[in-house]
Structure formats: C-alpha cells, structure tokens
Symmetry: C2
Subunit: 189 residues, 2 copies
DNA sequence: ATTTTCATTGAATCTGTATTCAATATAAAC
DNA sequence: GTTTATATTGAATACAGATTCAATGAAAAT
C-alpha cells in the first residue's frame, strides 16, 4: 500500500471517529485527546493529519455538504412531493442502523448550523440549500392540494427543525425506534 | 433598599443576562466576560454573586424546572388533550414576544437536556417529567380517538423534539413568525 | 542493502478563559 | 457622623485543553 493511500485511509479513520464523538458528545465536549484515544493514536499524531480540531469539523461539514446530491430537485420534480419527502425520511432512518455515519453526518450538518458553532463550518452548513429546496417542494405540493396552506418557506424551516430534533433524539438514545416517516410528513398536510 | 434586596436584584440581572446569551450564542460560546460586559459589570464582580459559570446555568435550569407548574396534569385532565397542547403551545409562542425570558427559559431547558452539557444542569433538566406527562396526555387522547395510534412515549419524545427544534429556530431567527400551534399538534392526529 | 521519507510518540509549550485576590469606593447601618 | 459591611475593579493566577516539537522507529523507495 502506497504512502498516499495509507494517509488517506488514516484520515478517514480519524474523521469517522471524530464524527461519531461530535454527534454523541457534542463538539465542545469532545476533546482532541478523546478523538485520538478513540482512533486510537497519540494526540500529537492527530496533528500530523489535521491542522486543528476545527479543521476536522470543517472537513466533515464539507463532506456533508457535498453529499446532499441525493436530495436534488431533479428527482424531486418527478414524483409527488409527499412521497418524495416520505421516501427521503425513510431512507434517512434506515441509515440510522445500516450506515450510522451517513445518519450522523446529517445530524452534524444540522448541529453545525446553530449559533455558537465555529463560523467556517457554520457558514458551509448554512449554505446548503435544503431549506430552500424543500420550500419549493412544499409550494409544489400546495399547488397540487397535497399540502396545507401556509408560507412554504416557514413550513420548510419548521419541518427541518422537527426532523433535526428527532434525529438528535435518535442519535442520543440509540434504542429509540425510528418514527413513521408518514407521520412526520403528515404535519405538512 | 436593603443590602439583601440589592443583592437579590443584581443576581436576577445577571441571571437574565446569562439566559439571554446562553440561548442566543450557546452555553460554550458565551464567555464569562461576555456576560459581565452585557450586565454590565466587571468580570471579577460576577464571581461575587455566583461561584462559576456553571452555577449560572444550574441556577437557571433550577428556575426552569420550578416553573413547569403551569404544565400540570391537574388542569390537563379536565380538557381534551389536543386543546390542552394547542393552548400550551399558543401561550409559549406568545411568550416569545411578550415575555422573552420565559420563552428563553424553555429553550434553555431543552438545550440543557442534551449530551455534552454540564452534568448537574443536564440531570436537573432531564428530571423534569414533561415527556412522561405528555405521554400520559397522548395516551388519554388516543383512548378518546383524538390522536393516532402509536407508542405514546415515543410520540411524546418526538413531539417535544419537534417543538424544541422550532423554538430554537425562533430564538435564533428573531423575525421568524411563530407557527400555528394547531399545525404542530396535528402531527399527533 | 541502504537510504530516505514520514508515521509515531509523549512531553513541553502556548493560549484562551475561568477564577482569585488585594486594594479601593460606596453606601447601609448604627 | 462614624463605623462597618460589602460592592466593585482590574490585574494576577490557575487551569484545561489545543498545538508544537525534538527524538525515534518502521517500512517504502531505490
């Protein structure tokens, strides 16, 4: 295995460990030493791979931002809005068990958007247009009389706030069963 | 004004300032110097009134825990569950403008429950039984066929997760209009 | 086989912030 | 009006945790 590949491998290990800890303990309560110990490696070595704790967060959020391709307007336009959102949530919740890191990624993206998080990461997370896209989707659903009346953008903001809250609850409390996606989408109906 | 009264007054000032900052910037990003400057007073003086930053948080969470009296099973038993919850949310959202500190208090209580928050405060916040009480309420609503089927406790957890997410969005984004309480409660129907 | 690169360690340092403290001002208590 | 308690300040200190660094080991490159 070439050196470059090894390095890439190790970086991934570190990122996945950090992701897990950031989500389960929170960014500020996760110490660099916690991450290093969990990988495991010495704390010093961690800085051979990443400049800083914040870079870890930024790197993760960038990955998250890049990975929102599955949630694109293209495929969303073809099927009824409610079906699309339900399907999206269903997949998300299935990730919670099958691919925890994908699930954690979404949780982290939501957390990164909050006040008090390091600015760079926050800006990247905020730049992801899931709220706008969902607003468009909701507006579409309203025209088709599938969704109730109301400011589509406000509805989108609240829809995601609810989903974020739910996902964090799941991330915190591992044995919490995932809710019925249709139940959640029904709040728009 | 007697010395004791003065001290009590000043403590309240500090607590209200801290509450505001904790909610708008987050606990970890709020520095003691920020609080002192906002009161305003010297940083040293703040420690004349409170032992530590954490004591401020704990004090606030204790107040929050004590103030949940309005959400009691007594009054909840008398009216239909959906009306009760809707009324509760309506009041909460009206507080957002009329009595911001009450609103902030609720937001803080929710935040304090999360992983990564100082243990003592977290435990107090977690000990408040709003989830259990709401679960009871939901179960009652289910018997009356007002609410949909499902594990009442899980529904309660998610209901509050959604409400918490919404309130944080409102706290962060001051000009966000408050959502229709009935719309939120409808997720249980 | 030798060289060279870089992965690795853990102790030393640096930094930001919470907390303490000695000195002073103020105003309540008497 | 004097005394006394305590409110107040800002600089000094303590501390936790991030970051650096000099030394060592291992294995890739040649």
């Amino acid at each position: 295995m070439t050196r470059k590949e090894q390095k890439e491998e190790r970086r991934k290990q570190i990122l996945m460990t950090a992701l897990d800890l950031f989500v389960s303990k929170g960014y500020y309560d996760t110490k660099i030493t916690d991450i290093a110990a969990a990988v495991p490696m010495s704390t010093g070595l961690l800085f051979h791979y990443f400049e800083s704790k914040e870079e870890l967060l930024v790197e993760l959020v960038k990955m998250g931002a890049a990975g929102t391709g599955s949630f694109d307007p293209e495929s969303a336009g073809k099927i009824p809005a409610d079906i699309f959102l339900t399907g999206f949530l269903k997949q998300m919740f299935s990730y919670a068990k099958e691919q925890p890191w994908v699930f954690n990624m979404f949780v982290l993206m939501g957390q990164a958007r909050r006040n008090g998080m390091p600015e760079e990461a926050r800006n990247i997370a905020l730049s992801v247009g899931s709220i706008d896209m969902t607003a468009t989707l909701i507006a579409k659903g309203q025209k088709e009389k599938i969704f109730r009346e109301g400011d589509a953008r406000v509805m989108s903001v609240f829809f995601w706030a609810a989903v974020q809250g739910i996902m964090e609850e799941m991330a915190m409390n591992k044995d919490m069963p995932s809710p019925d996606p249709e139940w959640i989408v029904s709040m728009l109906k």
